[in-house]
């Protein structure tokens, strides 16, 4: 027993001494205190790393679940486990991913990893899980297309055998980017695929992408395609390419001019006009103008003419305006007037609007809605000079503007300062006040119907009764009960009638969709 005593003392000394060990060995301590250290009871250094990496050698959905929940591994570390798990149980791994609240990137990466492991084992199983309306699954389908060039003969054969399903799953929705192929070598692989619509689509997409990168090389390779396929490629390629300068744009321009079918030539004609104006600035607008009038009619001519006069306006504004004024009535003139006015409004919105109002038919100026010309001009005016539109709206000497034109400005002011805007509306000339009050309250009612109703109540003598209808209508969409209750509190008169009529119309519409007419509203209407 005697030799054991010093040994026991030594062991005790070892452990006691450990408690007095310094936190670190630095000679120049920094202000922050580093106190944390890993327990010596757990492996450290190489051993720790080896054990943690060995954990990642597992490969099953259950292991994946355990490792993920541990929080001990980064997502890119877990990717290897996902791959291994997918090799042994792809469906279970896929299902595990579906059930997790992963962030978008991890989810995409994990699913792609499983898909590539699953496909060689059970192509039908994987393809049946891909959703052709899901962007992320298009990427997976694109990855599967890439297997056509795989070194693994089994994967490549599976991709060839299931080409139709892969393409149908959206493989080309994102272009041919899934293909690790380029140039003639890639083209040869694709041309060797079994004939059919999927091969045609793939070849076309490959050619389109190649044309965008290297127009002349791709064009030479396209000699391998049938005339119908070449046409199809150019029909798909040209709408984007014609908006670019350089070789791609020139190729598209030439095709549109000389080879495009009539309907496509008409559709792309306005873009060709734009391209010509950009490509040959020294020639002015004459060549483009001649081409447009000789080759286009109806809607395409109207669009092209708008582009031409708007460009012309920048150098010769008087002549451009005169050109518009001399155009025959109809959308041909309206479109051109709109394009010029929009361009002009950036520098002098009031003059632009005055000219536009005098140039287009009254029915065109009165059009309403977000996409109406008046609304767009109002937006431009408000954007370039909000003070001047405010002054113009308040000036009793000036003729009134179409409501669509005033709407964007009023909408923005109401968003920022509803009370101040309503005060300003109260100062407008009497004949404008009513419609602007209604518009302002209607705008507010979309954001805060209760507040709009309160402001209406405060102005019950001056606000137009129809405003009550607007408020009730938008409130009903957010809170039926509150809207009905408010309408019921309005005193008998046109405002109450307007509110109830609007509520009845909204409820009737809902009934058409299968809803029940609200009892409270029925009682009030009775």
């Amino acid at each position: 027993m005697k030799p054991l005593l010093p040994l026991a003392c030594a062991v005790a000394a070892f452990f006691i001494a450990r408690h007095f060990r310094p936190a670190g060995t630095l000679t120049t301590p920094t202000p922050p205190v580093f106190e944390a250290s890993m327990s010596r009871d757990v492996p450290r250094g190489l051993e720790r790393r080896a054990r943690r990496l060995a954990d990642l050698e597992a490969g099953s959905p259950a292991a994946l679940e355990r490792l993920y929940r541990s929080g001990n591994h980064s997502d890119w570390e877990l990717l290897a486990v996902v791959r291994r798990s997918a090799e042994s149980d792809p469906e279970g791994t896929w299902q595990w991913i579906e059930e997790q609240s992963l962030n978008t990137n991890d989810r995409r990466l994990f699913r792609q990893t499983v898909a590539l492991a699953w496909f060689p084992q059970d192509p039908v199983g994987l393809l049946s899980r891909l959703n052709p309306t899901d962007y992320n699954d298009w990427q997976i389908a694109g990855n599967l297309i890439g297997l056509l060039a795989s070194d693994d003969p089994a994967s490549a054969a599976a991709a060839r055998n299931h080409l139709d399903e892969i393409v149908a799953a959206g493989a080309l929705r994102l272009g041919s980017s899934g293909l690790p192929l380029s140039g003639e070598q890639g083209g040869e692989i694709l041309l060797a695929l079994p004939p059919g619509p999927s091969r045609d689509l793939l070849v076309q997409q490959y050619a389109i992408d190649w044309l965008a990168r290297d127009a002349s090389a791709a064009q030479a390779w396209m000699a391998n395609l049938s005339p119908a396929q070449r046409n199809k490629v150019m029909a798909e390629f040209s709408p984007q390419a014609i908006r670019r300068q350089g070789a791609a744009g020139a190729l598209a321009a030439s095709w549109i001019r000389n080879e495009a079918p009539p309907a496509l030539k008409a559709k792309l004609g306005p873009d060709l006009v734009d391209w010509m104006l950009d490509e040959y600035p020294q020639a002015g607008s004459k060549p483009a103008f001649s081409w447009a009038t000789e080759n286009l009619s109806a809607a395409p001519l109207a669009t092209a003419m708008g582009k031409l006069v708007a460009r012309h306006f920048s150098s010769e504004p008087d002549h451009a305006r005169q050109m518009v004024e001399e155009l025959p009535s109809g959308n041909l003139r309206h479109q051109a007037a709109m394009d010029v006015a929009n361009f002009w409004a950036a520098s002098d919105p009031e003059s632009a609007v005055n000219w536009w109002l005098g140039t287009v038919d009254p029915a065109e100026a009165a059009k309403s809605g977000y996409s109406s010309p008046a609304y767009q001009l109002g937006l431009e005016w408000f954007g370039s000079d909000p003070d001047s539109i405010r002054a113009r709206l308040a000036d009793p000497e000036q003729p009134p503007l179409p409501m669509s034109l005033a709407t964007p400005a009023l909408r923005e002011w109401m968003k920022a300062q509803p009370a101040a805007t309503l005060e300003w509306v109260d100062t407008l000339p009497a004949e404008r006040r009513g419609s602007f009050t209604e518009l302002a309250l209607r705008e507010l009612s979309w954001q805060d119907p209760a507040a709009a109703a309160g402001l209406f109540d405060q102005r019950s003598g001056t606000a137009p009764p129809s405003a009550a209808g607007s408020i009730a209508g938008s409130w009903y969409r957010r809170d039926q009960d509150a809207a009905i209750q408010w309408a019921g509190t309005l005193p008998p008169g046109p405002a109450r009638d307007a509110a109830l009529a609007k509520l009845k119309s909204a409820a009737d519409f809902d009934v058409q969709l299968g809803a029940t007419f609200p009892d409270d509203l029925r009682k009030i209407l009775e």
Binding site: R44, E57, L202, A263, N331, L513
Partner: protein, 622 residues
């Protein structure tokens, strides 16, 4: 002697000195590449390790084995001489920071946090190193991670389990840091540190959801929504029904939360999907109840039901007709659900189940969403067996159901996206007697196409109007055909009026021919009435010219009623002429009553008394 030696050994600093010698590792069983590689590396010298690191790292592409070796060498270098390792890496290639420098610094930090921190120089590059190492430490050791994180304050939390561990260990400190960051944030409206509150709420809600909800409501508004989202995320996993009730109550409570934020964050979807997995009908009811009270959670409802109902039908757990009935039960504003779900849940369903689904649903009364369901089934079926799908649809005796289902032929999603030519190919597979009706159903889905307006689907995307025109030319005469050629000619007339009018002239059926002329001129005259008028001026007299003239007159009526009035005289067919005169005078009188009255008087003065009386009666009739 033994006791002092043992005491020194125990006191000794944990970082092994250079040439520490062989580390002992357990022999792996079964063999593990990581443990085996580590066992081999344990005996290597510094020089040998650096040589091996170069071999593994400097190659053109790293395989899994090389990546594993690199990580283990970094761990061993941290034990032996991290400074030498880092200097070697810097000499080889400064770009190796991500995969060599940062892992080595991280391994060093795990052994001696302060030494690793102090080694990194001050300045922007050092800041980047510290941020990267901190991010790596997140998964390694909560204590050491927090030492770095207190100073670096990066990365921002997310919902990963590693962050939940940190939240569990340091809830108060994270809250303090979040508060400090909130004060300093340059975007007070949407501060980046809101994710701290989301994390903490998520963590705390796992233990006390109601209490955490209360706490979240006391937070500043800029971070409150994300904190509430954290609570709901957690609650969705344990009691989705309770979570939904509380979510909805947020909108109706004081302050009225904007539900669209929760909709965009996918919170509502997660909760509803949780309910739907247990009981789809309960999820529907929850959504409908909320919708009636105006909750803006439409995306949540649509995505949740798509993700649950689709797989349930595909796997046979739920019959298609039950799914249809359930979704169709959403009425009023909740009908947004069937409208957006019934067309998208069929893609994974087997063809035999699709046929059953189509048979059962087409036998249902023609409710609002039957068409959506049949169209969706058709689109999915076209993918696997278009002939069978079209054959089945064409065999349906209910004409309305037949049109609804056939309209799905162009809904098939193809590899190239919406391919107009492929759509026309599919459309051409429809038996000729049903072509016109199907075309009308497709083209009017988004409303009646008008000149200058947005056309319906298919019409807009169709790149070759001549192909559609040629198919319609072969269809038998019917009221549907007249409508179909009218829509086709209108849009073609806007694009290429000469071609459209040429086609109109080839139509065999007189009614269809008139409809096509009228529509083509309508499309043309919207843009360029002068050119359209010139064409009519050169056209041969007859019913087609009259139909075209009537279109021009209607168009001119709003912009130039005087010219329109003159054109009425050129219509040969008396009844049509009289009708157009009445319409033009009415339009004119709205713009210029005096001129209209003068024209009226002049015209009736030129008529025999009986005709004048009849015209006056028609004009003045309401």
């Amino acid at each position: 002697m033994l006791v002092p030696l043992a005491a020194w050994w125990g006191y000794r600093a944990p970082i092994p000195a250079k040439d520490q010698g062989e580390a002992t590792l357990p022999v792996p069983s079964p063999p593990s590449p990581a443990l085996e590689t580590a066992a081999n590396l344990a005996g290597e010298t510094l020089d040998s390790l650096l040589r091996q690191l170069g071999e593994a790292a400097l190659g053109p592409e790293r395989n899994d084995g090389q990546k594993l070796r690199i990580r283990l060498i970094c761990a061993r270098l941290a034990e032996l001489d991290p400074v030498a390792g880092l200097e070697w890496i810097a000499k080889q290639n400064p770009d190796f920071s991500w995969d060599l420098r940062h892992p080595l610094l991280m391994e060093w930090a795990l052994l001696d946090s302060r030494a690793a921190w102090n080694f990194i120089p001050e300045g922007p590059e050092g800041d980047r190193d510290r941020q990267a190492v901190t991010a790596l430490l997140l998964h390694e050791d909560p204590e050491i991670f927090m030492e770095w994180f207190r100073r670096v304050r990066q990365p921002m939390p997310d919902g990963s389990p590693a962050w939940l561990k940190i939240a569990e260990r340091f809830p108060d400190e994270l809250l303090t840091i979040a508060g400090e960051l909130l004060e300093q944030d340059s975007n007070p409206a949407r501060p980046r540190c809101a994710s701290f509150y989301q994390l903490l709420a998520r963590f705390c809600a796992g233990k006390d959801p109601a209490g955490t909800l209360e706490w979240s409501m006391t937070l500043p508004s800029s971070v409150r929504t994300l904190a509430l989202a954290g609570v709901m995320e957690s609650w969705a996993g344990t009691d989705p029904r309770a979570a939904w009730q509380h979510l909805i109550s947020l909108e109706r409570g004081p302050g009225g939360f904007d539900m669209s934020r929760f909709d965009n964050l996918g919170i509502g979807e997660r909760i509803l999907a949780g309910i739907a997995r247990e009981d789809p009908a309960a999820a529907m009811k929850a959504f409908i109840d909320a919708r009636e009270k105006s909750s803006d959670l439409s995306r949540s409802g649509i995505n949740a039901m798509r993700s649950v109902i689709g797989p349930a039908v595909a796997s046979g757990k739920m019959s298609a007709v039950d799914a249809y009935r359930l979704l169709d039960s959403a009425k009023g504003t909740a009908s947004i659900l069937p409208l957006n779900v019934l067309d998208r849940i069929w893609f994974g369903t087997r063809p035999d189940l699709l046929e059953t689904a189509a048979r059962d649903i087409s036998a249902q009364p023609d409710a609002m969403h039957r068409g959506t369901a049949l169209r969706g089934i058709m689109a999915a079926w076209m993918k696997s067996d278009p002939d069978a799908a079209i054959g089945f649809a064409a065999s349906l005796e209910d004409g309305r159901a037949r049109s609804q289902m056939l309209a799905g032929v162009i809904g098939e999603v193809t590899g190239g996206g919406v391919d107009p030519d492929r759509q026309v190919d599919r459309f051409a597979m429809i038996p000729p007697e049903y072509l016109a009706g199907t075309y009308v159903a497709i083209a009017t889905r988004s409303g009646q196409p008008v000149a200058g307006g947005r056309p319906g689907m298919f019409v807009d995307r169709e790149a070759s109007p001549d192909r559609i025109a040629s198919l319609l030319s072969a269809a038998p005469a019917s009221p549907d055909l007249n409508r179909a050629v009218g829509i086709a000619a209108l849009k073609w007339g806007e694009l290429d009026p000469s071609a459209a009018l040429e086609w109109a002239g080839t139509l065999a059926d007189p009614g269809a021919r008139n409809a096509a002329y009228s529509a083509a001129i309508d499309g043309w005259s919207y843009h360029d009435p002068m050119a359209a008028a010139a064409w009519i001026g050169n056209a041969d007299a007859g019913p087609c010219r009259d139909a075209a003239t009537a279109s021009l007159i209607r168009r001119l009526g709003t912009s130039d009623p005087a010219a329109a009035w003159e054109w009425t005289a050129t219509i040969g067919e008396p009844a049509l002429q009289s009708e157009q005169r009445v319409e033009t005078l009415r339009a004119w009188s709205r713009q210029s009553p005096g001129d209209a009255q003068e024209a009226f008087q002049s015209y009736v003065g030129s008529l025999p008394p009986a005709q004048a009386a009849e015209f006056t009666r028609r004009y003045t009739a309401k």
